[in-house]
Homo-oligomer: 235 residues x 2
Amino acid sequence: MTDAPAARRGIPGATVARLPVYLRALAGLAATGVDTVSSEELAEAAGVRSAKLRKDLSYLGSYGVRGVGYDVVRLREEIARELGLQYDWSVAIIGMGNLGHALAAYSGFATRGFRVTWLVDEDPNLVGSRIAGLTVIDMDALATQPPAGLIGVIATPPTAAQSVADRLVEMGVHSILNFAPCVLAVPDGVEVRKVDLATELQILAFHEQHARAELGPLADLAAVEVADARQEATS
Amino acid sequence: MTDAPAARRGIPGATVARLPVYLRALAGLAATGVDTVSSEELAEAAGVRSAKLRKDLSYLGSYGVRGVGYDVVRLREEIARELGLQYDWSVAIIGMGNLGHALAAYSGFATRGFRVTWLVDEDPNLVGSRIAGLTVIDMDALATQPPAGLIGVIATPPTAAQSVADRLVEMGVHSILNFAPCVLAVPDGVEVRKVDLATELQILAFHEQHARAELGPLADLAAVEVADARQEATS
DNA sequence: AGGCGCTTGTGAAGGCAGGCACAAAGTCGC
DNA sequence: GCGACTTTGTGCCTGCCTTCACAAGCGCCT
């Protein structure tokens, strides 16, 4: 997991990070008509241990019935409320490059309680154009009407990310999702979560390398071939 | 973080997850001509505490010089080696939707030790077309030449993700990065890291809601407005 | 050559998260 | 109406990660 920051209202950060997974699992169960689920079943659907699931849910209150399980609809509502999903949250995507484009068109946000409301870019050629049904604006235009509860998504090159973050903070945003591969400095009270694609791959590479090392030197040759291919390409 | 799995070779999972961040910070320092850095400076650049940084680096060995600091070039090499980045890793992206497209075009992979080598999709209309300089193939074609050390990136809809994962495992892949919002079941020895964009936003929503609650009921009204707007849109 | 100041590397302590196991509590069958 | 069965909620323990604090080590200055 990326960083699990300080817990609020007594709910551990690790638990908060898992609630969306439970919510997803519950949505799947509800779609198939299940109306009651045991911690064992739900845990399997969510990919965790049942004891962990029960402990997580216990932080929300006692919404289960002993001997029976959890009411799917009720539990869904409770988790959604805990996550603040009883209303949609507005999302502004800053940076309309490859990634920003894809995010703007990504349907997964709308179905999970979020509405992409603003698309922002600095490039004059992009400002004014329409992407995914929205008109691209610049940061100044966004700053004129900073809505309360806005979540900022930074999809700019890393060089621009800090200044964008500064401006977001300035206009009162205190939740930022950062796709730019860099460290953002923000004041206390502003929550930054980062998604770094290359970092994830590098972590996988570590495991891949060490899994390979355990197979002995023979298995290592395959990776060396990759290295050779690289040299060909760069020479 | 997503899950920090079992450590190998004694390096804690939490440390492995931070090594890429250090690597990035070192690259930045090297670009500005710095050749020696103290743990304090590097920690600041990486957004961590210096004690944590030193402990992390100590797992790799003693590459620092007391009273001086760390040699930037040397430390970079050591971390890169530990992560297995002395050679490029091949990456196959499965699912050429919005996200898959953006990932294929994302330049951040190539500059960090990865080469997108295969683009895969099931749609006959897409197979054979060219995206970002590569020809899209289908899973069968990928299976004919499963290269050792391949990392699979799943960018399909969630309904297809499990079957894609099964096929990847079948062809010997044991490192998977999953963008589909679902839980993947894989055998032991296969490493799955997941990136779920909506989950990240939901975690932010939790913090946003509770940060707001602390400001009192007045501040809560703004969010309710958003809820009203939603009802208008859905009615 | 010797001492001084700076920085690393690490033992120890504290805190958080995960897993186990069981008592509490509710339902179902008879 | 009562007992047996099922499943939740949770206290305790264990292990990992983080933080603190300091001794060890290195270079530099005198």
